[in-house]
């Protein structure tokens, strides 16, 4: 191993973006490790990075579509032709006053991502590329405490004291997305005497290690936490010091009055958990030195904003903000702005959900990006004309995926596609790129520069990390950031006077007295050295009153009625109960990222020994017996939207009898490896979110990812 070296960089096998070391030998990535200067761990997806890097399906040249959308027929073109085509269309769009009808769909790695800058400068919008991201969590925290703890910001489990309580409310923390070190940190905390409680209709690997598994009804989290909060207040066990000093004046009295009838007994009927269990955990939480709560699927399976609200009320009443073990409130690292800064269009006037027939439905919409799940409907509404997708696969990840595929092939009266241009920037062909007009070969995370700061709080406190090329890109691959900078130079040159991405990052880093080179020499990581606790004590919270807002008075009355959390579960569970007796839980595991080819088309992650080869219909053993279903039997699952799939049943003692589970992200139709894995896509059963607005969260932008189903042979 004479020419072998370990290079620090940042993983992107999933959106957690953990710090890693990559071993490069003779110009090839051979091995991955967690970076010991960060938390030192990398999960099975990260370990599988070399198989993504050297996948024989990598796109190497720009392509243009030569068949119909969806046929997947392409021919090679030059970068000049590709960029000229995109530039021409964008100029035309802007000239006709419709720049806002451009949306770029990508995971915003960092708030200074040059892609974002381009969109602001041009006048288009961004969505997160995650149809079921945790926008409602972000909105709930913004409204309550004025901070943005997104899904990368769980409690700092490594600060959880002895006697503390860790509650995973529909959160498969062992499956990734925060930081690969989270499972270790939770188990360490448990070993030093903290308690782990898992609320989940499915017995997850986390539940297998928990002190207590509470098989709650899907969407019952709001009711469960309201019941706990009511009990804590009624028993006078709430944190007086925090409430008196840090809750907005008058809010607690209003809460006390409103919550009086949300007793554990009343809430038990909604969440399906015994009142005694709710009360016991409530008292334990009130007495514990710290309570940390994390949630993700809990958000997706219910009324997300209401749950986020109830969660925050619980944290305030027990005083668990910004304390060791509790809910952290991160600050952003101060970087230098790259001048001049483009303002960007007004999301509240011009976002694709605001310009169509449903604009009034979104009156109270409060998320900072367009709702990804409205993409298909926006095409139908003529509110979206150019879509650039990068590192995402909406043709498979969109709820009601066939609705998305139909929308991008819809034509106007003149026989032209309603969506005038679809560009896909990807490592490998995906279900989405099959529909694209232009397909651009992206650089992998082992080949590109990226300055990352924002969500990586668990890793670095309020720090930053450098993703740097460790090997050369094959063929003519260019990173999407390079593409957007080039488009910026062509379409908004006044905002793109810097030479390239490196100069852009250097300018920003100057705010910290750093440069890319310096950061590289430092091992690619910078942090202020502490994450800080009780920061609100100096200067208050980020809300207008500088205190915690429990009551959201602007959402009182019609149409939202959400000034207090609504305890009920999702409306789609209340309909079609008899014909569709089971709730379908779309769930995830550590072997899977969204519906991207980097996990789907990766041999390790689709192997039965090292990953997951196919998905099954998880069904409670007793339920299956009643239905005469044996393990491995092929069953037909049907949903109210008309979707039906045939899938093998897997009997389990680890799922509620009134639910069935299906692992998300299967049903691939493209890719050397992905198509060898069996399984079906859950999104064929879940309704098209944009077409079922009555069931969606139009305030915080959360789409529901579940449905009722029936099981037949």
């Amino acid at each position: 191993m004479g020419t072998s070296k370990w290079v620090p960089t940042v993983c992107y096998q999933c959106k957690a973006e953990c710090s890693i070391l990559a071993r490069v030998e003779d110009g090839k990535v051979k091995e991955i490790r967690g970076n010991p200067k960060s938390h030192g761990k990398v999960c099975v997806k990260g370990m599988s990075g070399p198989a993504t890097q050297y996948n024989s399906d990598r796109l190497l040249y720009p392509l243009k579509r030569v068949g119909k959308r969806g046929e997947g027929k392409f021919e090679r073109i030059s970068w000049d032709e590709a960029l000229d085509t995109i530039t021409k269309k964008l100029k035309e769009l802007k000239n006709r006053g419709e720049a806002h009808k451009l949306t770029a769909s990508f995971f915003p790695h960092s708030i200074t991502d040059p892609k974002w800058r381009f969109l602001n400068a041009y006048g288009g919008f961004i969505n997160t590329a995650l149809p079921h991201c945790d926008s409602a969590k972000i909105v709930a925290f913004l409204r309550t405490v004025g901070g943005v703890p997104n899904h990368h910001i769980p409690p700092a489990w490594f600060t959880m004291p002895k006697g503390g309580i860790m509650i995973l409310a529909g959160r498969h923390a062992f499956g990734g997305l925060d930081n690969a070190a989270v499972p270790r940190d939770i188990l360490d905390a448990k070993e030093r005497g903290a308690k782990l409680v898992v609320l989940d209709p499915i017995f997850t690997p986390d539940a297998a290690k928990a002190d207590q598994w509470i098989p709650i009804k899907p969407g019952g989290d709001t009711a469960f936490f309201l019941g706990m909060t009511q009990h804590i207040i009624a028993k006078n066990l709430y944190n007086k010091e925090f409430v008196d000093n840090w809750v907005r004046d008058g809010d607690f009295a209003k809460l006390k009055k409103w919550i009086a009838d949300k007793t554990p007994e009343a809430m038990s009927k909604i969440c399906g958990v015994e009142p005694a269990v709710i009360k016991k955990l409530a008292v334990e939480c009130a007495k514990a030195p710290a309570v940390g709560v994390d949630s993700f699927k809990g958000i997706m399976l219910g009324q997300a904003l209401d749950w986020g609200h109830a969660w925050n009320i619980f944290l305030a009443v027990t005083g668990n903000y910004d304390n060791p073990g509790g809910q952290p409130l991160p600050e952003l690292t101060p970087m230098a702005p790259v001048a001049p800064g483009p303002g960007g269009p007004d999301l509240h006037e011009l976002g694709f959900h605001r310009t169509g027939p449903n604009r009034t439905v979104f009156d109270k919409y409060g998320f900072i990006m367009e709702p990804t799940w409205y993409e298909a409907q926006a095409i139908r509404d003529d509110s979206l004309k150019v879509l650039i997708t990068s590192e995402c696969n909406p043709a498979l990840t969109e709820m009601g995926q066939s609705g998305w595929q139909e929308a991008v092939t819809m034509k106007d009266s003149k026989g032209k596609y309603k969506l005038e241009l679809l560009v896909s920037i990807e490592l490998m062909h995906s279900e989405t790129s099959k529909f694209a007009d232009i397909v651009l070969p992206d650089k992998s995370y082992f080949e590109r520069w990226e300055l990352l700061y924002m969500p990586w709080w668990y890793n670095f406190g309020h720090g930053i990390a450098l993703r740097q090329p460790v090997v050369e890109a094959p063929g003519e691959c260019r990173h999407s950031n390079e593409v957007f900078i080039e488009l910026g130079k062509r379409l908004a040159p006044e905002y793109f006077k810097f030479k390239d991405d490196l100069e852009y990052y250097d300018t920003q880093l100057a705010g910290l007295g750093l440069s890319v080179k310096k950061l590289q020499d430092m091992g690619g990581l910078w942090s202020p050295g502490t994450m800080g606790f009780y920061k609100y004590r100096a200067g208050g919270f980020g809300t207008p009153s500088k205190k915690v807002h429990l009551h959201w008075e602007d959402l009182a009355g019609a149409p939202a009625y959400q000034d207090w959390p609504r305890p009920g579960t999702a409306p789609e569970y209340e309909e079609n109960v008899k014909e569709f007796p089971f709730i379908l839980l779309s769930y995830r595991s550590i072997y899977h990222t969204g519906s991207g080819q980097w996990s789907h088309n990766n041999p390790h992650l689709r192997d039965s020994v090292s990953g997951m080869h196919e998905n099954h219909l998880l069904i409670n053993t007793a339920t299956a017996r009643k239905l005469g279903i044996a393990d491995g039997d092929l069953v037909m699952v049907e949903a109210p939207n008309g979707g039906k799939v045939r899938i093998a049943a897997r009997l389990s003692e680890g799922i509620r009898p009134d639910c069935v589970g299906m692992h998300h992200g299967f049903g691939s139709t493209i890719g050397r490896v992905a198509t060898q894995g069996k399984g079906v896509s859950d999104n064929l059963l879940v309704p098209d979110a944009g077409a079922t607005l009555q069931w969606q969260d139009v305030v915080a932008g959360e789409a529901h990812v579940s449905t009722r189903v029936r099981i037949g042979k």
């Binding site: 051979k30 967690g34 990398v42 099975v44 370990m47 198989a51 024989s56 017995f203 039965s608 020994v609």
Partner: protein, 665 residues
């Protein structure tokens, strides 16, 4: 010797499989551009187990690397001696220079070599045939005996009386004739006949739960052998005066000399098993009484002793013997006078045995009456051959309808000729009487060999277990557990009359079940029930060679006594015959009970976990331990690991920690 190993913490392992991929990367086990899911090698895999039921289930997961066994089965199993346990570190390594992939051709064997050899797949006891035959081919007879006795406590007995279905499957037949597996086996196993070359398996642990085995036939003694090896105190109860069941009482000495039986039973005695003869459970003592005396589990291997009858007039005349009664008397040296002309009725092995015994004991006019034709006879062809050599005729398509006596003693049989029509339930052609074809044969004695059934007098009302159709005990087909959780059964008592090797297979499976039952473990988990045989076998390295011929005693000399007829292959002959084996699968892959050995079809070599010895030499820890997501894997010297576990209040899960990898709770 220092033993390096791993401690895997079940409280921490979340079954995420990160280590598996890290290990593949470090050892460069896959080419990421070409790798195909479910066809990639792996040195580690994850196993898991559910307990309990909703809403309080529990799930445990753990990693399984090579266990670096203290007494590894792969080491003796390798015909080339390519696998060694390092005396310094205790690491078991495969020498890539010496491994020849069991004669595979590089780049052409694909994944076929990881399946089971057809012989092993077919053998009811799934003996690692390929390994011992090829070891014999390389003159490594000692290792071969060790390999055989992993799967079969009675190889010397089987080497003489087994119906060897393995040979039926042998792929060598595609070139010329099947390998004479059974002859080779016998040659290897005859080392067991002498105390100085005998292999007595080591006892793994000391356990206190007493186990009772009822019946000392091959099923019962096999169960006793495996249970004793696990460390259980085992008592075998035998109602006859000698142990061995059908081996001793049913099979004549010219086929299976008594000293061979005695030698292999002695090994079981040497392992600490107590055999009590002359004790009939169900009379005198009962299962309930044995339970009260502290027996925690029972194995019923009581065979089939009651002979079936024809249900025709005159069956009770003197001079008519049920075959088993006759053979028992002969085998115990008792008198059973038959006269000069003896009719043996039946077509199975017991009929042949009866006829050949009668011929040896002063009945030159012995002949066989069989109602079907020669083709349908269930007896083994080689026995029919020996029968012919000994001048015993078979009268086929003949069915007795009446026995005629004089002064209470048989003197003639009224018979009818038969014709074969259609098919019966067994798939054989059905015999029907030809009207008007009756005739009479004069005889001095008769042996009735029409098959047997079980005498269940041992089952007293305190047992809940049920008998199925045909009087066999109803047991779970995988675990052999009956409706009484502590009662297991196997062999003829469950199957009806079958073979010695099937009885051995049952005894082995039942012992595994009893061990798990007594440890409170899942009886099913991880049990291999499917054996996928290799289909495409490489024949490039082989040219035609004649199958070994078994030297036999001169027919003239045979009839004067009970000397063994088959004389056994010589060493050179056994070695030459062993070299005829095509090595369909891979001997070490077959031998490993943990399924951790990989076969590289491109290089045509076996490979596996070496605890990252090249890292360890530089003071680093194995990759799995270095990359474990939850710090669940610790590496070190086994003794130190044990101390660390104890210091942290951990508990070693004995049921999993059988070798050099410790599983901790």
């Amino acid at each position: 010797m220092k033993q390096l190993g791993l401690a895997i913490d079940l409280k921490r392992c979340i079954g995420c499989k990160t280590c598996i991929v890290a290990c593949r990367n470090f050892h460069e086990l896959v080419n990421p551009s070409e790798a195909v899911p479910n066809q990639m090698p792996y040195y580690l895999h994850v196993e898991s187990r559910w307990h309990g039921a909703y809403p309080s289930p529990a799930l445990e997961s753990w990693v399984v690397p090579c266990q670096h066994c203290p007494d590894p089965l792969c080491v003796p199993a390798c015909p080339e001696g390519a696998i060694k346990k390092d005396p310094q570190t205790g690491i078991v390594r495969i020498d890539a220079e010496l491994c020849n992939g069991c004669n595979a051709v590089p780049g052409q064997c694909g994944s076929e070599k990881t399946k089971s050899a057809p012989c092993a797949a077919r053998c009811p006891a799934h003996m690692n045939v390929e390994s011992y035959v090829r070891l014999a081919g390389n003159g490594r007879f000692k290792e071969a005996l060790r390999v055989m006795k992993e799967d079969n406590p009675f190889p010397a007995i089987c080497g003489r009386v087994c119906d060897h279905p393995c040979e039926t499957e042998c792929k060598r037949k595609d070139i010329d004739e099947a390998v004479a597996i059974n002859f080779v086996k016998r040659h290897i196993a005859d080392q067991d006949l002498k105390a100085e070359t005998r292999y007595v398996p080591p006892i793994k642990a000391q356990r206190k739960e007493k186990v009772a085995v009822i019946g000392s036939g091959p099923a019962g003694l096999t169960a006793a052998y495996y249970l004793a090896r696990e460390g259980y105190p085992v008592t075998v109860f035998e109602k006859a005066s000698k142990p061995g069941g059908m081996l001793t009482l049913g099979i004549p000495a010219y086929r299976l000399p008594r000293d061979v039986i005695e030698a292999e039973i002695q090994v079981i005695r040497d392992m600490g098993v107590t055999i009590k003869t002359g004790v009939e459970v169900g009379k005198g003592t009962t299962v309930e009484r044995l339970r009260k005396n502290g027996y925690k589990a029972f194995f019923f291997g009581i065979g089939t002793q009651k002979c079936k009858t024809l249900d025709v007039p005159g069956e009770n005349l003197t001079g008519i013997y049920p075959a088993l009664d006759y053979l028992r008397k002969v085998n115990l040296g008792e008198k059973a006078p038959l006269g000069k002309k003896v009719a043996v009725i039946g077509g199975g092995n017991a009929a042949i045995d009866g006829a050949r015994c009668a011929r040896r004991l002063g009945s030159p006019g012995t002949f066989i009456l069989y109602r079907r034709s020669l083709k349908e006879m269930p007896a083994r062809p080689e026995e029919l051959e020996e029968l012919e050599q000994e001048g015993i005729p078979i009268q086929t398509l003949t069915q007795p309808v009446r026995f005629i006596g004089e002064k209470g003693k048989v003197k003639a049989i009224d018979c009818v000729k038969m014709v074969l029509k259609g098919k019966d339930a067994s798939g054989r052609r059905r015999p029907e009487p030809v009207p008007g074809s009756e005739f009479t044969i004069q005889v001095d004695g008769v042996i009735m060999a029409l098959g047997q059934e079980t005498d269940w007098a041992c089952l007293t009302p305190d047992c809940a277990c049920k008998l199925g159709d045909l009087g066999a005990m109803a047991v779970n087909p995988v675990t052999l557990q009956s409706d009484d959780a502590d009662i297991f059964a196997g062999g003829d008592a469950v199957r009806g009359s079958s073979s010695v090797i099937e009885a051995i297979a049952d005894g082995k499976q039942a012992a595994m079940s009893i061990d798990r039952y007594l440890k409170g473990e899942d009886l099913y988990a991880g049990r291999k029930t499917e054996w996928v045989p290799v289909e495409n076998v490489q024949k490039e390295k082989y040219s035609p060679a004649r199958r070994a011929v078994m030297p036999r005693l001169d027919p003239e000399k045979r009839l004067t006594g009970f000397a063994e007829v088959q004389l056994g292959l010589g060493e050179e002959q056994a070695q030459t015959e062993g070299q005829r084996c095509l090595g369909c699968s891979s001997a070490c892959v077959q031998a490993c009970p943990y399924g951790v050995i990989q076969f590289d079809g491109v290089k045509a070599k076996s490979h596996k976990c070496d605890l990252c010895v090249e890292r360890v030499q530089f003071g680093e820890i194995p990759v799995c331990a270095a990359t474990c997501l939850t710090d669940a894997i610790q590496f070190g010297e086994l003794d130190l690991l044990r101390q660390k576990i104890a210091a942290r209040g951990g508990e070693i899960v004995e049921a999993l920690s059988r070798e050099s990898i410790l599983y901790v709770k």
